[in-house]
Each structure stands twice: as structure tokens, then as C-alpha cells.
């Protein structure tokens, strides 16, 4: 039973981490390796607002989301846009940006156990005799809400439809008057905001540490690859797959193997079925 409950929570957390990455890759085909850095930086920005400046928690969450969205948009507009389409340059450039942010934070002294965010709701509740604190329930709730919101957004709003059009066929979208550069900026801003949201939701469960950036990046990549790069619903389903697999290994093998599961999932998925479990098969693009 506790496997079921904690598996669900873990899966939702993974889905939240990965959605931003999946969104950016799905729309602009840029593997945003700075995702982990954006995650960590939004944690610190929120911390700065709440603990250092003493702003109201909800207000600071809101401000953080805006700031991180702008940061993501700027990164795309001024750096990534110039290397778009060159797969390797994209990876190197975005990874270098992420590394610069993370190591800059580390240099700035943001390390150690002193940085924590408050939880939304204190206390815990027993579900089937397993104690679960409210915050974890909030994570699951908001996770579901975000997925639902994304679905509605991409199916029923102008911008969302434009984004989907671009994801499907960029040239056709251009011909229909969709500004692909602008849409890519929007996608990047949205992806960064999702990373920020994930950070704000998940970081209260532990400390804010710079190393989390690397782990989040790996987990996000794992989820996106297992689900199929560029497929959002695939990412959500894959999050459940990996989430439960992780909880199972932690219960039966030991916590050391948690990361090994994610990494092996990446390797085996790529070897056996590079387009992921739920992605469209594009045989000639990905393998010889």
C-alpha cells in the first residue's frame, strides 16, 4: 500500500520535473539542458523572496514564476536561437548555460543545509494507515491540475494551438502565419515556468541544494526519453513507470539504486526503441 501511495507521489514529482523539458523539446526541438539549473535557481529566488525579503509566500511564488519565465525567454532569445537546428551546439550551449548557473550559485555560497522553503500546508493525514503529509498531497493535486491545464491550454487557446502546430510541422505553421521564433520563446518561457513550479512544489520536501540541478536534469531526461522525446502525454505516463520502478527498487534493493534505475531506463530505451514507449516511430531519423 505504501508503495502505491509513495509511488504515485514520486511519479507526480517526476512528471512535474519533466514536463517543462518535454514541452520545450516538443515545440522547439531544443534539448534544454539548462532545465536543472532553472529548477534550482527558482528555488533560490523563492527563498530570497520568502526568507530574505519577507514577502508573502503566495506572492513570492507568483513573482518567481514570472522571473524564471523571463530568464528562460532571455536565454532562448539571445543564445539558443542562434544555434537552433544544430543539435550538438544546442546541447553544448544549453548545458554550458546550466553549468554556469549552477556553479555560479555554488560559488555564491548557496550551499549547505540552510536553505529550505516552507511547506504549503503543515500537518499530515493517514491514508490507509500510512501517514502522508499534506504537502505531498498538494504536490499530487497540483501535478494533476498542471497536466489538465496544459491539455486545455494546448487544445483550446490560440497560443496553445499555435504551439502544437509548430510542434507538428514548423514550416506549415510558418505558412499559416505563426511566428515560429516567438512561439519558441513562449515555449521556453512556459517550460522554465514549469521548472520553477516543480521547484517550488518539490523543494519544501528537502533542502535546496545545487546538486539537485544535475539530478533533476537526469530525471527529466529519463522521463522524456522513456516517454518519447517531444511527447507530453508519453512523459506523464513514463513518469509513472519510472516513479514506481524507483520506489520498488528503493523498497527492495536500497536507495543507492534509485538513480541507477533512471539511468538504465535511458540507456535501454534508447537502445531498444529510441523514440520512446509512446513517441511516434521515426525510424530513419534516429537510427541507421
Amino acid at each position: 500500500m505504501d508503495i502505491l501511495i509513495y509511488g504515485t507521489i514520486n511519479s507526480m514529482a517526476l512528471a512535474l520535473m519533466a514536463l517543462g523539458f518535454a514541452l520545450v523539446y516538443g515545440i522547439s526541438r531544443i534539448p534544454n539542458f539548462a532545465h536543472g539549473a532553472l529548477y534550482v535557481i527558482s528555488g533560490f529566488v523563492t527563498w530570497g523572496f520568502v526568507r530574505a525579503l519577507g514577502v508573502n509566500y503566495l506572492l513570492s511564488v507568483f513573482l518567481t514564476m514570472i522571473i524564471i519565465g523571463v530568464v528562460g525567454a532571455l536565454i532562448y532569445r539571445f543564445i539558443l536561437i542562434r544555434v537552433r537546428g544544430m543539435a550538438i551546439s544546442e546541447i553544448i550551449a544549453s548545458y554550458a548555460i546550466g553549468l554556469a548557473i549552477l556553479e555560479g550559485l555554488r560559488w555564491g555560497g548557496f550551499k549547505g543545509m540552510t536553505y529550505t522553503l516552507p511547506v504549503f500546508v503543515e500537518g499530515s493525514v493517514d491514508i490507509a494507515e500510512i501517514p502522508v503529509d499534506f504537502h505531498r498531497l498538494v504536490v499530487v493535486g497540483i501535478g494533476v491540475a498542471v497536466v489538465a491545464f496544459l491539455w486545455l491550454f494546448t487544445h483550446h487557446t490560440r497560443i496553445g494551438l499555435a504551439l502544437r502546430g509548430m510542434a507538428q510541422d514548423e514550416r506549415a505553421a510558418l505558412m499559416l502565419g505563426i511566428d515560429s521564433d516567438l512561439m519558441a520563446v513562449v515555449a521556453m518561457a512556459l517550460g522554465s515556468m514549469l521548472a520553477g513550479l516543480a521547484a517550488i512544489l518539490l523543494l519544501p520536501l528537502g533542502n535546496i541544494v545545487v546538486e539537485a540541478g544535475y539530478n533533476v536534469l537526469i530525471l527529466a531526461i529519463a522521463v522524456c526519453i522513456v516517454g518519447g522525446l517531444g511527447s507530453w502525454m508519453g512523459a506523464v505516463l513514463a513518469a509513472f513507470l519510472i516513479g514506481f520502478a524507483q520506489i520498488l527498487t528503493v523498497t527492495y534493493l536500497g536507495s543507492h539504486y534509485q538513480m541507477v534505475v533512471a539511468l538504465l531506463a535511458i540507456i535501454f530505451t534508447l537502445i531498444l526503441r529510441p523514440s520512446g514507449l509512446f513517441g511516434q516511430q521515426k525510424e530513419l531519423e534516429e537510427r541507421v
Partner: protein
């Protein structure tokens, strides 16, 4: 009315045209044109340990050379075979651990363990990467990025090979001059060897695999076989670096799988000039000493580093060596059109 537009015209220098063929040996001037850049590199590398002021900087040269092995391998794989391998740390780790085990458990001296670790490590890496060889582009890049991380976590989790403590007490080189000249000579050997290799027939096949693998397949050649050979060459280079590193530091541990070994050679290749083989070596000789100079800044040096890398990749993606070669071989002028 200012609608005249300029265009930069590039012409080969006459001497370049003359020295392309056998005629290069006709005159001393043309011989010099061909050999001086190469001699500058070779002689420069050979006297470098002698002019270095301190032990510390001599050690830096060895480290530079180890990164140069990785950068050579990366450049070869990425720009001549079309496989972008982000897993330099994987090669370093496999080679390093092999050398350490051979040395501590079997008692072989460094000059025996290094060749064995190079060849055996290359074979192991190739074997492990074999299933990924059909992958292309970003998929291959991601999968190779994950390999060192997996090995690191597995060693950590299973607590094998010394676990997080690593393997201590590995023998060092007989003295520092042997260490320096061994790695420098190896760099030179592989530098010119790779340049030779990519101009052989097999090099042609490699480039064909990069440009149009379907055409290679249609010609009745096995793509995976050629890719495996290329991966073997590159991973053997990396393993050589790893083996040397272990013997220099007299220690082998999971930090051999650190991301530095994957990222720095790529940065060096980007800055030095991709696809020139000599460029990456040059890039290492620029980047590694800079990072040593900036050591006082702690992790801020990685920030500098990344910013330099981003600037290069966004604004000057051709790299120093391509630029230099162009200036050396061609002259440019503006023409009105």
C-alpha cells in the same frame, strides 16, 4: 545611392597551390611553407616541459595532454564519423580502473599496464557501446552522456572496486621526465596518426558514414562495423588518457567518471576548431592552463569557462584553428558586386 555591396573573396595563396602536390619539394621556401607549422608544434611540445618554471606547471602539462587525448577522440568521432560522444569520462574511467587493477592486483609496471589498459579498455568500451551504434545525433549523444554516470552509480551502489574510496597505491612513473615525455610523445603520435587515418581509404568510408550512411549501406558496407572501429580508436585514446592519469595521480576513484572529462574536451574542440584534429589539442593547451590559473576563484572558473564556451559556440563556431588555417592558406579581399 549606396547600393554597392561588398563580398569577401577568398583565394588560395599561390604557394599553397604549388605545394599541394609533389612539387612541394622543388624549393626550400615551399618546403618551409609546409613543414614550419608542423615543426613549430612538434618542437614546441617537446621543449615545453623544459621551459616550465615549476613542478606544478609540469604536472599541468601532463593533464593537458590527457585532455588532449580525449579531445582528439571526440573530434575524430564527431567530425569524421558523425558520432557525437559526450562520454569522455566513460573512457577515462574504464582505462583508469583497468590500469589501477592491473597495477595493484597483478603488479605490472606502468609501461605494461598502460598499453594493456589502452587496448583492453578500448575493446571493453566498444563492446559496451555496440548496442548504441545504430543511434544517431542527439540520441547517441544522450546515451553516451549517461554511461559514465551509470558506471559511477553502480560502483557506488555495489561498493566494488574500492567503492567511494577508490583504489590507492597505484605505482607512479619512474620519474617526472618519463611521465611528461611519454604523454607528449603519445599526443604527437596520435595527432599525426589520426590525420593519416582520416586520409586513408578507411577515413573516406568514415566520412561517408557521417555524410550519408544510407549510401554507404547501399555500397554493401557494414556501417556498424566501421562505426565500431572508429569508436574503438576513440575509446582506446580515452583509455590511454585514463591509464596515464591513474599513474600520475597514483589513485583511481569514481571521480574518474566526473563530467569534467566529458565537457572539457568538447569545449577544447569547439574553441580549437572542429574537424581539424590539431585544433582540439590546441584548445586543450589554451583551456586547461586557464582553468589552472583561475583555480583561486573556486567554482567560479567553471562559470567563466562555460561563458567562454557559449560565446565561442554562438559567435565564433569555427574555432581558432580553422580561422588560422584560412589565414595561412588564403588571402581575402573585398570585391564589389
Amino acid at each position: 545611392m549606396n547600393n554597392e555591396q561588398g563580398r569577401k573573396e577568398r583565394l588560395d595563396r599561390g604557394i599553397k597551390v604549388r605545394t599541394d602536390g609533389l612539387y612541394a619539394i622543388m624549393s626550400l621556401r615551399e618546403l618551409c611553407y609546409l613543414t614550419v607549422p608542423r615543426l613549430v608544434l612538434i618542437v614546441g611540445l617537446l621543449i615545453l616541459p623544459l621551459v616550465m618554471p615549476s613542478m606544478y606547471w609540469q604536472r599541468v602539462i601532463s593533464i593537458v595532454c590527457i585532455y588532449a587525448f580525449l579531445a582528439l577522440g571526440f573530434d575524430f568521432l564527431a567530425h569524421f564519423v558523425g558520432l557525437v560522444c559526450l562520454g569522455g569520462a566513460f573512457f577515462i574511467g574504464v582505462g583508469g580502473y583497468l590500469a589501477a587493477i592491473l597495477n595493484t592486483s597483478f603488479g605490472f609496471p606502468p609501461l605494461v599496464t598502460i598499453p594493456i589498459a589502452t587496448l583492453l579498455g578500448g575493446a571493453i568500451c566498444t563492446l559496451l557501446l555496440l548496442p548504441c551504434l545504430p543511434l544517431r545525433g542527439v540520441y547517441f549523444a544522450i546515451v553516451t552522456l549517461m554511461y559514465p554516470l551509470v558506471l559511477m552509480r553502480i560502483i557506488e551502489a555495489l561498493n566494488i572496486l574500492g567503492g567511494t574510496d577508490g583504489i590507492m597505491g597505484v605505482a607512479s612513473f619512474a620519474n617526472r621526465w618519463i611521465e611528461q615525455y611519454f604523454v607528449i610523445l603519445m599526443v604527437l603520435l596520435f595527432l599525426f596518426g589520426l590525420r593519416r587515418l582520416v586520409n586513408l581509404d578507411i577515413g573516406l568510408v568514415f566520412r561517408a558514414v557521417k555524410d550519408n550512411d544510407q549510401a554507404v549501406r547501399a555500397s554493401g558496407m557494414n556501417i556498424s562495423f566501421y562505426k565500431a572501429i572508429a569508436v574503438f580508436v576513440a575509446s582506446a585514446l580515452g583509455c590511454l588518457g585514463g591509464a596515464c592519469l591513474v599513474h600520475i595521480y597514483m589513485w583511481s576513484g569514481i571521480s574518474l567518471f566526473a563530467l569534467d572529462f566529458s565537457i572539457l574536451p568538447i569545449a577544447a574542440t569547439v574553441i580549437g576548431g572542429a574537424g581539424t584534429v590539431v585544433g582540439p589539442v590546441l584548445g586543450c593547451f589554451i583551456l586547461v592552463p586557464i582553468s589552472e590559473l583561475l583555480r583561486a576563484f573556486g567554482t567560479l572558473r567553471i562559470v567563466f569557462y562555460c561563458l567562454i564556451l557559449v560565446a565561442f559556440i554562438v559567435f565564433r563556431s569555427e574555432g581558432i584553428m580553422v580561422y588560422g588555417q584560412r589565414k595561412y592558406h588564403q588571402f581575402e579581399r573585398w570585391v564589389k558586386i
